[in-house]
Symmetry: C2
Subunit: 416 residues, 2 copies
C-alpha cells in the first residue's frame, strides 16, 4: 500500500515556512503499515497542482494533500480536485453549521461570505470534520485510489489525521505490517559505526533495512522491515538486534531509540524514583528547559531553570563566586560545576545540569575558543563536568551542547 504526500503552498517553495506536516503524516502512515513513496511540494498554481495529482495517482494508492483549503484567493485545492474528478462545488450544510458555530464561540470578528464559502465542497467528496478550524478535510475516491485533502495549519491537520483520516484508511485498506526498532548511540560517527557493522550489514535479510540517523552528536540506528506476518517480522528484526547489540554495546545509550525525544526516557527514569531536575544555562540559552517542558508531564520531574546569559547574572542569581569566574573565566569547568551545584540547591532538585560556553560568533566574556562548552552535572552524590569543542557554527554549538547534556544526564541515570 503506497501513499504520496502533496503539500501545496507558495510559502513552502519560497522557503518562508518549513514543511513539518509531511513528516507527521509520514510517521502516522508508517505506524499503520502504509509506506510513503514520495513527498511533493508545489505552488498555489492550478495546472501544476493538477499535473502533480495526475502523476501521483499513477504511482500511489493513497494521495494525501495539505494546504490550499483556506478562505483566501490563493487557496485553490478544492477547485483543482473538482477539475480532476469532473466535479463541481456544492454547499455542505453540516460544514456551514460548524463554521457558524466556531465563529459564534471563538471569533470576535463577524462571519463573512469568504468564511461561509468554506462550506462549498466537491459533490463527490466526503467532508472530514475539522474540530479546530473552518476548513473541513476532504475524502474522495476514484477507481481504487483515495484522495485526501487537509488544511495546512499543523494542529488542524494533526487532529484530522487522528480522528478522521487514519481510522478511515485502516477500514478501507488491507496493509502489510511495518516494524521499526531504533537504537540511540553516542560517541562514534556514522562511518565508524558502519565499519563495525559491515559484516553484519552484508548479511542482512532483504526485507530488513538499516538507516543511520545522525543528529548533533548522536546517531540513531533504525532497523525496519515490512512483512505480511507480524510475528515473523518482529522476530526477525529482534533477532538482528540481538546480533548487533554486542557489537555496539559500549556506545548504545538507549535501546528504545524510537523516542526521538530522549527527554521521554529521562522522565521515565526520574519518575520511577520521584526525582526532580533543574537546569542552569548559559550558552544553550533556554534550549535545555524548552526540551524538558516540550512534552506533557514535564511538571512530574522538571522544576525549572535559570538562563544566565550575562556573566553578572551568573554571580547575582546563580551565586557563582566572583573569584571563581575571575580565576577561571566564565567558560570553565569550575563555573559549570558551580552553576549545576547551585541550580540544584536553588530549585531543591535532585539533579541539575548546567552549560557554559562560547556559542559564537564572538568570544564574549572569555578567552576560550568559540565552540568550547563545559557541561556540569550535579547529582545527590557528586558534581562533575566535561569540556567539549562543538565547532564554529552557533546553531550547531547550541544544539550539540543541549544534546550532549541530555546524554550525560541519561548515562548518569542509567548507571544507577
Amino acid at each position: 500500500m503506497i501513499a504520496e504526500i502533496i503539500t501545496i503552498g507558495d510559502e513552502i517553495l519560497i522557503g518562508q515556512i518549513v514543511d513539518t506536516n509531511s513528516a507527521h503524516i509520514a510517521q502516522e502512515l508508517n505506524k499503520i503499515g502504509v509506506s510513503v513513496h514520495q513527498i511533493t511540494s508545489v505552488e498555489d498554481e492550478h495546472e501544476h497542482i493538477l499535473t502533480t495529482l495526475k502523476e501521483a495517482s499513477k504511482r500511489a494508492d493513497i494521495i494525501l494533500i495539505t494546504g490550499g483549503l483556506g478562505p483566501t484567493k490563493d487557496d485553490i485545492t478544492k477547485k483543482v480536485l473538482c477539475e480532476f474528478f469532473g466535479d463541481s462545488l456544492v454547499r455542505d450544510d453540516a460544514v456551514l453549521r460548524h463554521i457558524e458555530f466556531l465563529f459564534e464561540k471563538y471569533v470576535t470578528t463577524p462571519i463573512s461570505d469568504l468564511n461561509r464559502e468554506q462550506a462549498l465542497m466537491p459533490s463527490k467528496a466526503i467532508a472530514l470534520h475539522n474540530e479546530y478550524g473552518t476548513a473541513p478535510g476532504l475524502w474522495m475516491k476514484n477507481a481504487e485510489k483515495v484522495f485526501i485533502a487537509m488544511p495546512g495549519v499543523p494542529f488542524e491537520m494533526k487532529s484530522l489525521m487522528e480522528r478522521e483520516v487514519l481510522p478511515r484508511l485502516i477500514k478501507e485498506f488491507k496493509r502489510p505490517f511495518i516494524y521499526h526498532k531504533t537504537i540511540r548511540t553516542y560517541g562514534l560517527g556514522e562511518s565508524a559505526i558502519a565499519q563495525r557493522l559491515e559484516d553484519w550489514e552484508n548479511n542482512l535479510p532483504v526485507h530488513i533495512k538499516l538507516a543511520y540517523l545522525p543528529s548533533f552528536g548522536t546517531v540513531r540506528l533504525r532497523l525496519s522491515g515490512k512483512g505480511l506476518n507480524e510475528e515473523d517480522l518482529k522476530f526477525s528484526i529482534e533477532q538482528e538486534f540481538e546480533k548487533i547489540y554486542p557489537i555496539l554495546e559500549d556506545i548504545i545509550a538507549d535501546v528504545n531509540g524510537e523516542n526521538e525525544d530522549i527527554t521521554i526516557t529521562i522522565r521515565e527514569l526520574l519518575n520511577t524514583k520521584n526525582h526532580f531536575l533543574s537546569v542552569a544555562e548559559s550558552c544553550t540559552g533556554g534550549e535545555l528547559a524548552t526540551k524538558f517542558t516540550k512534552n506533557p508531564g514535564a511538571s512530574t520531574y522538571f522544576k525549572g531553570g535559570i538562563v544566565t546569559y550575562a556573566t553578572k547574572a551568573k554571580e547575582d542569581i546563580l551565586s557563582v563566586p566572583h573569584a571563581i569566574i575571575e580565576k577561571n573565566t566564565v567558560v570553565s569547568a569550575e563555573v559549570a560545576e558551580e552553576m549545576a551545584r547551585n541550580s540544584r540547591l536553588i530549585f531543591k532538585s535532585d539533579y541539575a545540569i548546567s552549560t557554559t560556553g562560547n556559542a559564537g560568533p564572538d568570544k564574549g566574556d572569555s578567552d576560550k575558543d568559540v565552540g568550547t562548552v563545559f557541561i556540569g552535572i550535579a547529582t545527590p552524590e557528586k558534581v562533575f563536568s566535561e569540556e567539549f569543542k562543538f565547532g564554529r557554527n552557533r546553531e550547531q554549538v547550541v544544539k550539540k551542547a543541549a544534546n550532549k547534556a541530555l546524554e550525560m544526564l541519561l548515562k548518569e541515570l542509567i548507571s544507577k
Copy 2:
C-alpha cells in the same frame, strides 16, 4: 530561471526527520532571483531517484539534490548521478587530502576505507569544497541544465550553499529580479484580513502576488513580484504597499516583516537605547529565552531568564508572595505581573516579560481552563498584563503564548 529541489533519504519519508534543508535552499535561491518550482522527497532507492532526476530535468534548469552522500551503504546519490550522466567514479585527490585533514584534526577514531571512498567522484563532476564535513558537494552540467548535489547535514549544506553553490549560480545564469515585501500583522485572522483587502487584491497587477502567512496568532502578508527591471519592480511593489497600509494600519505590527524572526526587530529597538531585557517563564518553559538567544548578538540586549515550572519555584526564586498565589491561583494576572516585576529587579534589566498559564493537557496547580495564559510586561514605567485563551493544544498554547509575548513587547517598544 526555474529550480527544483530533490531531497533523498528514507528518514524523510518515514517522518523521522523534518526536511528543513529545502526551506533554506528555497530562501537562498529566491534572494538571487531563482524560483523553486517543486520540491520532491524520495527514498534511498536507485530507480526512484533516477526517475525523479529525469522528470525534474524536463521542468527545471537547476536541480539541487541533498542527501545520500554519506559514507554508508544507503548513500547512493553519486552512483545514480553516474548512471544519469553515463559517467563513472574516480578518485579526487584534493577531496581525499581534505578528508584526511579533517580526520587528523577533529576525529579521534582512525580513518577507514569507507571514509576514503568519499573521495570518489563522478569524473564529469566538479567537487564543491565542504569545509565542515567529509562529503564534498557536486556540480555537474548536462546540456544547459545544472545538477548540484549537497550533503543532507543542514550546517554542511548551508555552508556549501553560501560558499560554493550561490556564487556559481550567480556567475552561470542570467536571472530576473524577485522582490518581496512582508508586513507583520496581529489581531485579525486570515479571512478577516482578506475581506478588508478584497477590492485592492482584485486590482493587483498580474506580476505581483499576495500571500498570507499565518503563524500562531500573527499573520504576515507577503507581496512578491518578478520582473526584468529591478527599479520598476520595487517601485510597483512599494506602490501597492502604500495602498494597503491605510487599510491595515491598526493591525500592522512591523512593516519589516521580512525578518521572520521578530526578535531581530526587538533587538534593534533595545540596542538603540542600550536597554536590556529579561524573562520569567512558566508555561512557555524556556521557549522565550530560546527565541531571544537564538541569534548572534543576544548578549547585547538579553540578560537571561528564569523558568519556574513548579509553583513553589515561583515563590522561592521569583519571590512571588505565597498569598498572591493563594488568592488568585498561579495562573492569574497578579502572578504574571509579579513575575515580570521581579524578573526585571533580579536581572537588573529595563524590560521583562513573563508567562503563566495552563498549557495542558492537564490543569496543573490552577483551576483556570487549559489554554489560559497571562502575559506580563514590566517596563521602566509600569507593569501590566493581558489574559489570553490559546485553545487546547499544548504545543500551540506554548507557541502562541511566546509569539504573543513578543508582539506585546514589540508594541510597547514601538509606542515609545
